[in-house]
């Protein structure tokens, strides 16, 4: 056996990189700027850093020159760092101190996304008399190095110039507007002055700096300027702009309060710069989860991005930074609460979900904002401050179906039940007593509501025992128990009060009705534990309802039975409960029977 070295087919590798590693060919601008900035950071002596990008036409097409006055490269270094893919001068102790942006040693390759050759002139700043080195790399993996007799140390100050020549399919990417746009996109927050030169025209890229770091004449002006900036960056109007700063992770920036409420299912997408260089527009884990009412623009100096460029590494520093950024938002909301409650009210009208998410996990915020938060209740949508005026004993249900069943009845009794079925309500309400003095909370279900209804007296019990027995008979196979009570509203003949376990068992039976032995047995097993408790829903007849009252006095058992079964199915329909085939049969039989009764009565009357 003999040892051989892997051969890498550079052309194939470049294609791979351009399709998988880089989001698109435009990142070549980012990589070149990044190298220039790193080269400047690597230089320790005193000098005025600058980066000049020049566009012109060479013999083979449009060209782009990126010139920096950074550290440059010696001939040795050229061989070491430019000839080997994956080699980088930015690893090691020095790298940490100088906060380099690159480290993987693959950035320069991105030049091949737009150009078949990468050309580079460089002169090291490490020694006075360093020569100018000329390097030309080709897409097929070959390169040449030499001294350039035309460029002498006298007319080429220390630093590097990288030259790309646009391939025919990439002309548009080297167009002046595109280059200026991309340079601003990636580099508007970088420190060394960057200028794009196109003939006589000069386009400054980063002369304005981060708008949140500028002084303004008044808070109002500051707000206006930031809002205008947010609109430029995200192409949408915002409700407000909140400055952000965190000493952990060295983060600063602005949070823009959205003018509409976002979908909770949407992922966070903040724009983050890493040491001034755009990292991504879709960073998802820098701001706290509950802060989904804002979109941020942040510059991060002390956190590590993951390889995807869309998150930061999940470590203690990130946790601390996220907390500090959260505190900035909390302070903003607190400030509104104290100085601009009108604006807070408008904000909450749009973002109550986010505020609920925050308050559900944070007692201080709960205390502060609870009064402003709206809830769905049996009496309609109400702010918490109005609910607590009505009663300090808050009744709630975490079950959407139960809420729907109870709402009308509870409203008729004037009682307020809060719908806590949505994302944060339940936790929020359950935390109330611990945070607010004098507030108690109680979970209610349909059954507990029934307890508040008027019971029959002993005579009535006696009188209606037969009716209940009949009803029980009709409902025997339906996990449902009949009852008779008095309640409002009087126009409601029955109330179907469900029980979650019974609902599950009913659902299982409904599916078993449709056959399929295999699943039938399995579903039995899945439902076994719930079924063992023999849970029952209740069909409550309302004695206050005139129709029910009359029904109780009918002495024809057949008519009573038909009425009971029809009322049962009607109650299911009203509550949007799914009907089983035999429910439908019950309804059909009931209707036909009642029509026949009507016709018979009519016939008798005509006679």
């Amino acid at each position: 056996m003999s040892a051989h070295k892997f051969q890498v087919h550079l052309g194939g590798l470049i294609d791979l990189l351009s399709h998988h590693l880089y989001s698109g060919p435009e990142v070549y601008v980012r990589e070149l700027l990044q190298n220039a900035v790193d080269a400047i950071a690597a230089r320790d002596d005193a000098f005025d850093p600058r980066i000049d990008i020049r566009l012109d036409h060479g013999p083979d097409g449009p060209r782009l020159h990126v010139r920096d006055n950074g550290i440059g490269l010696t001939e040795d270094e050229v061989h070491r760092f430019l000839a080997t893919i994956g080699e980088s001068s930015k690893r090691g102790v020095d790298a940490v101190r100088k906060e380099f942006l690159g480290q993987f040693g693959i950035g320069l390759l991105s030049g091949f996304l737009v150009s078949d050759h990468i050309e580079l002139y460089t002169r090291s700043a490490k020694t006075e008399d360093a020569p100018v080195i000329h390097w030309r790399g080709h897409k097929d993996g070959t390169y040449e190095v030499g001294h350039d007799p035309d460029r002498t140390a006298a007319d080429f100050a220390a630093g590097t110039e990288v030259i790309l020549t646009a391939r025919p399919d990439a002309h548009a990417l080297l167009d002046v507007d595109t280059v200026v746009g991309l340079a601003r996109h990636y580099g508007s927050l970088l420190e060394p002055p960057i200028v794009v030169h196109d003939g006589m025209a000069a386009h400054p890229i980063n002369d304005e700096g981060a708008p949140w770091r500028q002084p303004y004449a008044s808070p109002g002006q500051r707000r206006e300027a930031l809002l205008a900036y947010g609109q430029r960056v995200f192409n949408q109007r915002f409700f407000d702009a909140v400055p952000l700063v965190s000493s952990a992770g060295h983060v600063d920036g602005v949070a823009f309060v959205l003018a509409h409420s976002p979908s909770l299912a949407q992922h966070r997408a903040d724009r983050a710069y890493l040491k001034g260089m755009l990292l991504s527009d879709r960073v998802d884990n820098l701001m706290p989860e509950w802060a989904f009412f804002v979109r941020g623009v942040l510059d991060v100096r002390g956190l590590r991005p993951t390889a995807s460029r869309e998150s930061f590494a999940d470590d203690d520093a990130l946790d601390l930074a996220r907390d500090e950024l959260g505190d900035c938002l909390r302070r903003y909301l607190t400030h509104l609460e104290q100085h601009d409650p009108e604006r807070l009210t408008r904000l909450i009208a749009v973002h109550h979900l986010a505020l609920k998410a925050l308050a559900a996990d944070d007692d201080e915020s709960l205390r502060l904002f609870i009064d402003y938060l709206p809830f769905e209740t049996s009496l309609g949508r109400m702010l918490f401050r109005d609910i607590r005026v009505k009663t300090p004993h808050i009744a709630y249900t975490p079950n959407l179906d139960a809420f729907r069943q109870m709402a009308a009845v509870a409203a008729a009794q004037g009682s307020c039940i809060v719908n806590a079925a949505y994302a944060y309500e339940r936790r929020l309400i359950e935390r109330l007593p611990a945070v607010l003095d004098g507030i108690t909370v109680q979970e209610v279900d349909a059954a507990s509501l029934l307890e508040s209804f008027g019971e029959l007296d002993l005579d009535e019990r006696d009188l209606f025992a037969d009716f209940l027995a009949e009803a029980r008979h009709v409902l025997a196979t339906r996990q449902c128990e009949p009852a008779l009570k008095r309640f409002a509203p009087t126009n409601l003949p029955t109330l179907f009060a469900d029980n979650p376990d019974a609902a599950f068992v009913r659902e299982v039976e409904r599916q078993q009705d449709e056959g399929d032995d295999l699943w039938s047995a399995v579903l039995d097993g899945v439902a076994a534990e719930r079924a063992r408790a023999m849970p029952k829903a209740q069909l409550v007849f309302n004695l206050n309802n005139p129709l029910v009252e009359r029904l109780l006095t009918v002495d024809d058992p057949a008519l009573r039975q038909l009425s009971i079964q029809t009322l049962y199915v009607q109650a299911l329909l009203l509550g949007h409960f799914p009907l089983r085939p035999d429910d439908l049969r019950l309804l059909a039989d009931g209707m036909i029977g009642l029509i026949e009764f009507g016709l018979d009565a009519h016939a008798r009357w005509v006679q």
Partner: protein, 364 residues
């Protein structure tokens, strides 16, 4: 927007946080309304949404119910729905079945056959179903069967219905931990731990399964580190009951009862009533470990809110609660042994070392 319009309800559901119960309830309600209106496609979408929501919010029983509905409709209308996603869901369901002791062995076997047959087109070598059979065998307390299926699973070539790359690596680690080979387990999850591979539950549950074995191997610094990192990931996902059990017992063996109690309290509501009883049993063992350690430390009472009759006004009578938890464990242990016709699960659950029991509990 109307609460009687299934389309509105379904889009409301989709706008809810992925793991919220609200998403499940809204989707279920939409499904009912679609069904009532006889709209099959809408109903299918809503059941699918509900199925997914049930999975993420800790309702495996509902996940099974919705999946069975979809499978039935799929069989009635063979080319109408996306079979791939459906089989994916089916696969998850089958793996949950042994967790319900009321489902007999023969029925589980039938389901495995049915599921394997349906997946053949996507998984010609049966790799996915063999892996599930390996887990099922362990949940049935059938150790020889588990070894046998493990061999077959590992010899089979992967089809396109195998789990995501991150889950595959996590499964691999779980396998090696089951074999007691910590180093190989670790080697299997390298890309998961350095962030190159991830999904909704990995590396979350990956860290959890390693911490107690690491601690036992004397690698206490690493165990502590992974406990912190892993708990940071799972603490907001109460649904990952099994992982929570590991993070809880880890704090019991390291003697940090304050943190163990806080962790228990955070998820006890779901953990102690978890519908899938094998997972619940595992959580009960973790609860027993905490209460036992409190009793050993001479605490008769602690301020700790547990669901049901285990606590009153946020206080737990340690010895009374311990007795109750032991009863519940015994009941489940008996139910599983009776169904399994082995004593493996029962013996594990009754062992004097609840921490070890959690560590060895079949929780793929």
């Amino acid at each position: 927007m109307s609460e009687d319009n299934p389309y509105d309800l379904l889009s409301q559901a989709r706008a809810m946080p992925e793991k919220s119960e609200a998403r499940l309830l809204l989707a279920e309600r939409a499904a009912k309304l679609f069904e009532a209106e006889g709209q099959l496609d809408g109903a299918f979408d809503a059941h699918d949404e509900a199925c997914d929501a049930a999975c993420w919010s800790g309702h495996p029983d509902k996940m099974i119910l919705h999946t069975s509905w979809m499978l039935k409709k799929h069989d009635e209308h063979p080319d109408r729905f996306d079979e791939f996603i459906l089989l994916w869901r089916y696969k998850w369901c089958v793996a949950e079945l042994p967790g319900f002791p009321a489902i007999g062995r023969d029925k589980i076997e039938d389901m495995l056959d049915d599921c394997g047959r349906r997946m053949l087109g996507f998984d010609p070598a049966g790799e996915a179903i063999k892996k599930i059979r390996f887990w099922v065998a362990r949940m049935l307390g059938d150790e020889p069967g588990a070894h046998d299926w493990a061999q077959q699973w590992r010899a089979a070539e992967q089809g396109i219905i195998s789990d995501c790359a991150a889950c595959e690596m996590d499964n691999e680690a779980e396998y090696w931990l089951w074999k007691g080979e910590l180093e190989r387990a670790e080697a299997a999850v390298g890309p998961v731990l350095d962030g190159r591979r991830a999904c909704a539950e990995v590396p979350h549950r990956t860290y959890a399964r390693f911490i107690v074995p690491l601690w036992r191997a004397g690698r206490t610094d690493q165990a502590a580190d992974w406990d912190r990192t892993g708990y940071r990931l799972v603490h907001k996902h109460p649904k990952m009951v099994g992982s929570h059990a590991h993070h809880i017992v880890y704090r019991v063996i390291t003697g940090d009862l304050d943190e163990a109690v806080a962790r228990l309290e955070r998820v006890a509501g779901l953990g102690l009533s978890y519908p899938q009883q094998m997972t619940r049993l595992c959580f009960l063992l973790a609860t027993r470990a905490v209460l036992g350690a409190l009793a050993d430390a001479g605490r008769d009472e602690v301020a700790l809110a547990l669901p049901g009759a285990l606590s009153e006004d946020g206080r737990v009578d340690v010895n009374a609660a311990l007795a109750q938890v032991r009863n519940q464990i015994e009941e489940l242990a008996e139910a599983f042994d009776a169904r399994n016709q082995t004593r493996t699960i029962g013996d594990l659950a009754r062992s004097d070392d609840p921490v070890g029991a959690v560590e060895r509990f079949p929780m793929p």
